[in-house]
C-alpha cells in the first residue's frame, strides 16, 4: 500500500524490465477486444421484427371505409383517466384496421387450450421462455447473441487469469516476488477495453428501449389490467366497457364441492386462472396497469412484458403478440399474503375470434365500431364519416 514507486514514478531500465514481466497479462487483455469484435457484426444484423410503430400509418381520413374515425364515444372514456405522465406510452397517428377487424367468428367463443411449453416455463428450463412479441424477440436476441457471450467470456477470462497466477506464481515455482506496482499501459487498457465492450452493449440496449417505448397508434385497442389483493381484473373500455375478473384456480383436492378447479386445459398448476385476459393477436394493444390497493406487477415472461400496477397511477405500454396462444405469468411485486396466488393468463386470438369473445359479454362491442344505439353525445362528436363495418 505504501509504495515508493507510487511517489517516484521515474522510469529506469530496471522498471522497464519489470514492466516486461507484465507483458503476458497485457496480451491477454488485448485478446478481449477480439471477442468483442466477434460480436460486432451481429450487432449490425437486422432487427428480427419490424417495430410496431413502423406499421403503415395511414391518415385516418385516407380510407374511411376501413379506417373508421376515432369513435368519439370511446376515446374520451379511455383518455380521461389516463395519467399521461412518465409511465404513459406515446400516442402516434391512427392506423388502418385489418380487413377482418369487424368480423365476428361464427360459432362463438371457446377458451383456447394451452400448448405445453409455449407461453409457460418448461421443466428444468435454463434459458428464457420462447418469445412471442417483436420486442421480446429482439430482447432475447440481444441477450443471447450479445450479453451472454460477453459475460461468459469475461467470467472465463477472469477464471483463466486466476488459474494462471495460481499455477505460475505459486511460491514453490516463483520464489522471489516481483515488486512491480505500476504499468500505465496496462491500466489504460483495462479501463479502455471495458468501455469498448460497454459501448457495444449500449447500442442495442438503447435500441431495445426505443422499441419498447414506440408510439402506439391512437386507435389501438385499450385493455386495462387492475391488480387487486389477490386477483387481476381486466377492463375493455373500447369494447363497451366489459370487465373480466381473473381468479386463481385451485387444485381439485383443494377446491370446495361444486367449486371450479384447475384442469390441464386451463394451464399449469399455479399459473392457471378462471377467466383469461383475451386480446387480439397481431395488433398493437395499449395495455394499461393500475393497482386497486397495493402495488402489483403485470408480468408475462414469454411476451417480455412487465409493468407495475401502482395505486393512483395508470402505467401504459404496448403489448403486441405475434402468434395466437395462451401466455402465462404471475404477479411480480410483493403484494401481501397471496402474492404467489395471482396468476396472469393472456389468451391471444385472431380478430374474428376475439370479436366473438367480446360479443359473449353483455354490452360488448367491437372497438372502432360506431355506437349501435345513437347516443346524442356520440352523434354530436362523430362528424367524421360513418364507417361501414368491413366483412
Amino acid at each position: 500500500m505504501i509504495d515508493p514507486e507510487m511517489i517516484n514514478q521515474g522510469m529506469n531500465l530496471a522498471a522497464i524490465g519489470r514492466k516486461l514481466r507484465m507483458l503476458p497479462l497485457a496480451l491477454a487483455l488485448f485478446a478481449v477486444p477480439q471477442l468483442a469484435m466477434g460480436q460486432a457484426p451481429a450487432a449490425l444484423a437486422p432487427a428480427p421484427a419490424a417495430s410496431v410503430a413502423a406499421a403503415p400509418a395511414v391518415p385516418a381520413t385516407a380510407d374511411p371505409a376501413v379506417t373508421p374515425a376515432a369513435p368519439a364515444a370511446a376515446a374520451p372514456a379511455v383518455a380521461a383517466p389516463v395519467n399521461t405522465g412518465p409511465g404513459a406510452a406515446a400516442t402516434g397517428p391512427k392506423v388502418a384496421y385489418s380487413a377482418d377487424h369487424f368480423t365476428v367468428a361464427t360459432g362463438g367463443y371457446t377458451p383456447m387450450k394451452p400448448t405445453a411449453g409455449k407461453g409457460m416455463p418448461v421443466d428444468g428450463g435454463i434459458g428464457f421462455q420462447d418469445q412471442y412479441s417483436p420486442n421480446g424477440t429482439y430482447a432475447l436476441w440481444m441477450h443471447n447473441t450479445i450479453l451472454m457471450p460477453v459475460i461468459i467470456a469475461i467470467s472465463i477470462f477472469v477464471l483463466g487469469l486466476l488459474m494462471w497466477v495460481v499455477f505460475a506464481y505459486r511460491s514453490a515455482r516463483n520464489k522471489v516476488p516481483s515488486k512491480t506496482t505500476h504499468n500505465t499501459m496496462l491500466e489504460v487498457i483495462w479501463v479502455a477495453i471495458p468501455i469498448f465492450i460497454l459501448v457495444a452493449i449500449f447500442v442495442p440496449s438503447m435500441k431495445l428501449l426505443a422499441k419498447q417505448y414506440a408510439a402506439l397508434p391512437a386507435n389501438a385497442l385499450t385493455v386495462k389490467a387492475t391488480g387487486n389483493q389477490w386477483y387481476w381484473s381486466y377492463s375493455y373500455p373500447d369494447n363497451g366497457g366489459i370487465e373480466v375478473t381473473s381468479n386463481f384456480l385451485k387444485e381439485k383436492e383443494d377446491a370446495k364441492p361444486g367449486e371450479r378447479f384447475r384442469t390441464d386445459d386451463d394451464g399449469p398448476r399455479q399459473l392457471a386462472s378462471d377467466n383469461r385476459m383475451v386480446v387480439p393477436v397481431g395488433e398493437p394493444i395499449r395495455l394499461q396497469t393500475t393497482g386497486a390497493d397495493v402495488i402489483h406487477s403485470f408480468s408475462v415472461p414469454s411476451l417480455w412484458f412487465k409493468l407495475d400496477a401502482v395505486p393512483g397511477r395508470i402505467n401504459e405500454k404496448m403489448l403486441f403478440i405475434k402468434v395466437p396462444g395462451v401466455y402465462y405469468g404471475q404477479c411480480s411485486e410483493l403484494c401481501g399474503v397471496r402474492h404467489g396466488y395471482m396468476p396472469i393468463a393472456v389468451e391471444a386470438l385472431p380478430r374474428p375470434q376475439f370479436n366473438a369473445w367480446v360479443m359473449t359479454h353483455s354490452g360488448g362491442k367491437i372497438d372502432g365500431a360506431p355506437a349501435t344505439a345513437p347516443a346524442p353525445a356520440a352523434n354530436a362528436a362523430a362528424s367524421a364519416p360513418s364507417p361501414a363495418p368491413a366483412g
Binding site: H182, Q270, V294, G312, V337
Partner: protein, 562 residues
C-alpha cells in the same frame, strides 16, 4: 491532512507506560460499557455471527419450503413461533415474514455489523496507528443501538402484522403494502428497528470519518493508508449520505401508518413511487456499503499472500471513490418496471453500466497484484481468490440487469435473487470469511486450523454455487421472487438449490468447529503469523494486541514499504 496528523502527534503522550496498556476493566464494565475499539469490534463480530445464524436458519426454512411445489412446512414453522393450527393465509403470511426477516437481518444485522462494526472497528485504528477510535463512547452507543434495533425486529415477529404475526412487507418495505396494506404493530417494530440500526450506522460513520481524517500516525498520509482503511473511509461517507435518506423515508412510512399523513398515498396527493425513489437512493449505495469493506480486505489479503505491494494502489483507492460516487446516481435501475419514462430508463441504463469500469479496475488490479508474486495459498488467500471469481460472476449478471429493456423480463424474478446473492452472499460473505481467517488469530491470539479453513472454503464454495447458480435459470424461465409456491416446471432447479443449502450449511458446521478448535487447542499466534508479506501496522503488534496500543505513535517514514 498531514498537518492535522502532525498536530495530533504534538498532543500525543510522550510517556511510555508499557504495562498500563493491559489494565482491563472488570467483566461487566469491559463488555457492556466498553469504549475500547477492539472490544467493541469483538462485540460486533459476536453479534453479527449470532444474527447470521438466525438469518441463515431462516434461509434454511425458506429452502425447505421451496424444495417442492405446494406448501409443506410453513404450518410447522408457524407452530415454532407459537401459532398452532394456522390458517392457509397465516401460513402464507409467515412466508412473507420469513423473507422480510432474512433480508433485514442479513443486510443490517449481519453483513454491516461484521464489515464495519467488526473489522472496521478492530483494524482501522490499528492500521492507521491510532490508539482508538475518535469517539469511543459514541462507538459504544452505535453498537448497542444496533442490538436494540435487532431486538425490535425480533419483537415484530411476535406481534400482529395483519393476517398473522410479524411484518410481511419485504426488506424493501414498499408503500402502500407497508402502510395501508399491513395492519398491526409488527411493521412499526420492523421500521423502528431500521431507525435504531440506522442511527447506530450514522454515528459509526461519523466516528470512522473523524478517526481516519484526524488520527493517522505521523507520516501516514491519505495516500499511504492501507486500502482497507480507504474502503472504510468511502463506506463511511456512503453511510453518512445514504442513511439519513432511509431514515426520512421510513419516518414518513411511520407517520403514514399512524398519523394519517399521505406521503405515499395517492388518494391524499402522495405517491407510492416516491417511497421507492427514496428507498433506493439509500438502497443502492447500501449495496456498496456492504461490499466496499470487502474490497479493502481482499486487497490486503491478496497483497500479503502474494508478498507483493498492491498493484495500482491509487487506481484501487480512487476506483472505490468512483464506485461510491456513481453508486449514488444509479438508484432507479431497481425501478425499471414502475413506469419510468424512456429518457429516464436510458439514463439509468447508461449510468449503471458505467460502474462496470471501476469494478473492472479492481478485479484486474487484484490479478495484477498476484501476477509476478510468490503466492502462498493460506486460507485467507483461498477465500480471497474465491471472492474474486464469484464477485465477477455476480458482476457480469449485473451488466445484464443494467439494461432497462432486458430487465423488463428479469425484474423481480429469481435472476435478480441470483445476482445479488452472488455479489453479497457469495461476494460480501466470502470476503468476510477471508477477513475472518486473515485476522482471527490477530484478534484472539489463537491460530485456527488451516485444514478446516480450507475445507470450510471448498464445501462453502460448492454449496453456495449449487444454491444460487440454478436461480439464474429459474429467473430467466420467469419464476417470480418472494413466492412460497411455484409451478411444477420450476421444481427441478428449486430442489437442486435446496440440496445445495445442505452443503452450504455443513460448511458452517466446519466454521464453528474451527473456532472451537482454535480456542481449545489452537497454537498461540505470533505477532506477524503470515510472515513478510504482511506489512500493515497491525502486524507490528502482538496477537492479540495490547488492550491499548500505540501509546507512542508509530512514525511512518517515506521509505516505509507496505
Amino acid at each position: 491532512m498531514a498537518t492535522t496528523a502532525d498536530h495530533f502527534q504534538a498532543h500525543g503522550d510522550p510517556h511510555d507506560h508499557a504495562h498500563d496498556g493491559d489494565h482491563k476493566p472488570a467483566f461487566f464494565a469491559r463488555w457492556f460499557m466498553s469504549t475500547n475499539h477492539k472490544d467493541i469490534g469483538t462485540l460486533y463480530l459476536i453479534f453479527a455471527i449470532t444474527a447470521g445464524i438466525i438469518g441463515g436458519a431462516i434461509s434454511g426454512m425458506m429452502r425447505a419450503e421451496l424444495s417442492h411445489p405446494g406448501i409443506q412446512y410453513l404450518g410447522t414453522f408457524a407452530g415454532w413461533l407459537g401459532v398452532h393450527n394456522p390458517s392457509f393465509d397465516q401460513q402464507l403470511h409467515l412466508w412473507n415474514v420469513l423473507i422480510t426477516a432474512h433480508g433485514l437481518i442479513m443486510v443490517f444485522f449481519m453483513v454491516m455489523p461484521a464489515m464495519i462494526g467488526g473489522f472496521g472497528n478492530w483494524f482501522v485504528p490499528l492500521m492507521i496507528g491510532a490508539p482508538d477510535m475518535a469517539f469511543p463512547r459514541m462507538n459504544n452507543i452505535s453498537f448497542w443501538l444496533t442490538v436494540a434495533g435487532f431486538c425490535s425486529l425480533m419483537i415484530s415477529a411476535f406481534v400482529p402484522g395483519g393476517v398473522g404475526n410479524g411484518a410481511g412487507i419485504g426488506w424493501t418495505a414498499y408503500a402502500p403494502l407497508s402502510t395501508s396494506g399491513s395492519q398491526g404493530p409488527a411493521v412499526d417494530f420492523a421500521i423502528f428497528s431500521l431507525h435504531l440500526a440506522g442511527a447506530g450506522s450514522i454515528m459509526g460513520a461519523i466516528n470512522f470519518i473523524t478517526t481516519i481524517f484526524n488520527m493517522r500516525a505521523p507520516g501516514m498520509t491519505l495516500h499511504k493508508m492501507p486500502l482497507f482503511v480507504w474502503s472504510m473511509l468511502v463506506t463511511a461517507f456512503l453511510l453518512l449520505l445514504a442513511m439519513p435518506v432511509l431514515a426520512a423515508a421510513i419516518t414518513m412510512l411511520i407517520t403514514d401508518r399512524n398519523f394519517h399523513t399521505t406521503f405515499f398515498d395517492a388518494s391524499g396527493g402522495g405517491d407510492p413511487i416516491l417511497f421507492q425513489h427514496l428507498f433506493w437512493f439509500f438502497g443502492h449505495p447500501e449495496v456498496y456499503i456492504m461490499i466496499l469493506p470487502g474490497f479493502g480486505m481482499i486487497s490486503q489479503i491478496v497483497s500479503t499472500f502474494s508478498r507483493k505491494p498492491v498493484f495500482g494502489y491509487l487506481g484501487m483507492a480512487y476506483a472505490m471513490v468512483a464506485i461510491g460516487v456513481v453508486g449514488f446516481v444509479v438508484w432507479a435501475h431497481h425501478m425499471y418496471t414502475t413506469g419510468l419514462s424512456e429518457d429516464v430508463k436510458m439514463y439509468f441504463t447508461t449510468a449503471t453500466m458505467v460502474i462496470a469500469v471501476p469494478t473492472g479496475i479492481k478485479i484486474f488490479s487484484w490479478v495484477a497484484t498476484m501476477w509476478g508474486g510468490s503466492i502462498s495459498f493460506k486460507s485467507p488467500m483461498v477465500w480471497a481468490m474465491g471472492f474474486i471469481f464469484l464477485f465477477t460472476v455476480g458482476g457480469v449478471t449485473g451488466v445484464v440487469l443494467a439494461n432497462g429493456g432486458i430487465d423488463d423480463n428479469l425484474q423481480d424474478t429469481y435472476y435478480v435473487v441470483a445476482h445479488f446473492h452472488y455479489v453479497l452472499s457469495l461476494g460480501a460473505v466470502t470476503s468476510l470469511f477471508a477477513g475472518f481467517y486473515y485476522w482471527f488469530p490477530k484478534m484472539s491470539g489463537k491460530m485456527h486450523s488451516e485444514f478446516l479453513a480450507h475445507a470450510h472454503f471448498w464445501v462453502f464454495f460448492v454449496g453456495v454455487n449449487l444454491i444460487f447458480f440454478p436461480m439464474h435459470f429459474l429467473g430467466a424461465q420467469g419464476m417470480p421472487r418472494r413466492v412460497p409456491n411455484y409451478a411444477p416446471q420450476f421444481e427441478h432447479w428449486n430442489h437442486f438449490a435446496s440440496m445445495g443449502y445442505l452443503v452450504m450449511a455443513s460448511s458452517m458446521v466446519i466454521f464453528f468447529v474451527n473456532i472451537a478448535y482454535a480456542f481449545i487447542a489452537g497454537k498461540k499466534a505470533e505477532g506477524n503469523y503470515w510472515g513478510e508479506g504482511a506489512t500493515t501496522l497491525e502486524w507490528t503488534l502482538s496477537s492479540p494486541p495490547p488492550y491499548h496500543q500505540f501509546e507512542t505513535l508509530p512514525v511512518i517514514g517515506d521509505d516505509h514499504h507496505h
